[in-house]
Symmetry: C2
Amino acid sequence: MNIGMIEAAADRLKGVALRTPLLSSPFLDEIAGRRIFVKAECLQHTGSFKFRGGWSAVSALSMEDRARGVIAFSSGNHAQGVALAARRHGAPCVILMPADAPRVKIDNTRALGAEVVLYDRATGDRDAIGAALAEDRGLTLIKPFDEPQVIAGQGTTGLEIAEQAAAEDVTKADVLICCGGGGLTSGIALALEANAPGLRARPVEPEGFDDVKRSLASGAIERNTRTSGSLCDAIVTPSPGQITFPIMARLCGPGIAVTEEEALAAMTQAFNRLHIVLEPGGAVALAAALYHPSAVEGDVVIAVASGGNVDPDVFRMALDRYA
Amino acid sequence: MNIGMIEAAADRLKGVALRTPLLSSPFLDEIAGRRIFVKAECLQHTGSFKFRGGWSAVSALSMEDRARGVIAFSSGNHAQGVALAARRHGAPCVILMPADAPRVKIDNTRALGAEVVLYDRATGDRDAIGAALAEDRGLTLIKPFDEPQVIAGQGTTGLEIAEQAAAEDVTKADVLICCGGGGLTSGIALALEANAPGLRARPVEPEGFDDVKRSLASGAIERNTRTSGSLCDAIVTPSPGQITFPIMARLCGPGIAVTEEEALAAMTQAFNRLHIVLEPGGAVALAAALYHPSAVEGDVVIAVASGGNVDPDVFRMALDRYA
């Protein structure tokens, strides 16, 4: 896993992925007490950064492997990213998805041409189920984060952040990243190491699901006691990956944990001030920038808004409480 | 008023205005029956394209005029655009605003450092009030649309559309534009004439406030019978301008009118599929693309999403009805 793979993924994603804008608002600067920039990956195709990793992985396959097809398992955003990437490559696609995933994500994945197979998140072992399906049909498994070509795709976000920060004359800042298994965080960390060494990647997670924060603190992979029951479902994973963790341990600053209420409040600020739609899991980095200013260093902070696939009821709840 | 003024405005806006992305979604393509691209000006600074015209006008003033200050009148978006542009230039700014404008727009304009003066939209003549204030304090009046430097600034949106369409290999399409007095529409029309002659600008308005559509049909400036009472307040104006109308009459295709309900439904689609926040007046072009497909020509349509400054209650109403 190295910067060359990220640069190669950027070449394959050129003209395909959206170069998402770096947004800002004087109103948010005032709340945070420093300048904030928000990398709006909620505007990416399929509504999250996951399209980058999906496209990177599918486009890296041999013609033969693509023709047999791919399988992915995901709480939804990775599913949509892989499904659209597969469809545009003409590759068959099976998505293994927890039965309690938001309805909109299941519907959207099916509408993108994928075959959706549901499993019970509490009792099923998705790794085992996915491996069996892949074996059975000759599909290539595209893991959601602990997979070099996926990390390379997510890392292209970091290449863009490095360029966009330089255009704003920002050479030193914490870059806060919504973090599940660490694919986006480790990819961005590698890209920043190579192209913007004054920018430091820092994972942000929901309280109670802060396996990466605890792992970085202890120096060893820690697990969450629960893996469901969070509004931030998109970024809830059991533990950081075997590939992602060493990268994060080497390059990232300390993790930050935010409450669900802070994520909902950040969604409302993003609605009012940036005019973007965030899901709770995609708003935790912005929440850390706005509501945990003392955890951040420097005059500028960059928050990655990683996804916008939110159920309307959850969005209404955010507006009801904080608008 | 010519393309040279738009190019000069683009130079002054370089590194200042956001180059807003051209968004798309296969889900929206399906509804419209053709490819749709959405120019997301709701992501522009202050939440609408109006920042472009405000900056263009303030930056075109002499040092002396800037030091005396500017005045603008607006239902809100022009106000915010001018206020932020003035503040960043260190120029005093007075905003004359209807007393029934959305609260969030009044608050935001004040927070951007402007002095807000309220008037009654039904009984007051904003042109006369604005002229008197300008005379009294030596301020330069920045009209919301019938002003060459404002049109030049809005026209930079069209320069970007021309480039972004070319990058998508789109050489022929209707470009639907949310239209009030025609500043954005005429500016984009001039930019497309020069840089993308296969793209045709077309104004979109709310039913009952379709003065531009009727003016284009009759060949003379027509007026609305009402100038308040629309959810699409941001784009309700009495009539097209003396400068904007001849440009639109020469360059634009026929106007399209949509219902308020169609605008609310389009806001919900933008929420679900593009993850952007639109106000009703900023959603009418998307509504035309989605719900009036037979009024549009060609395989591709480009809709300008012009603003996102929406009261949370109005947004909730859209979600309640259409999500």
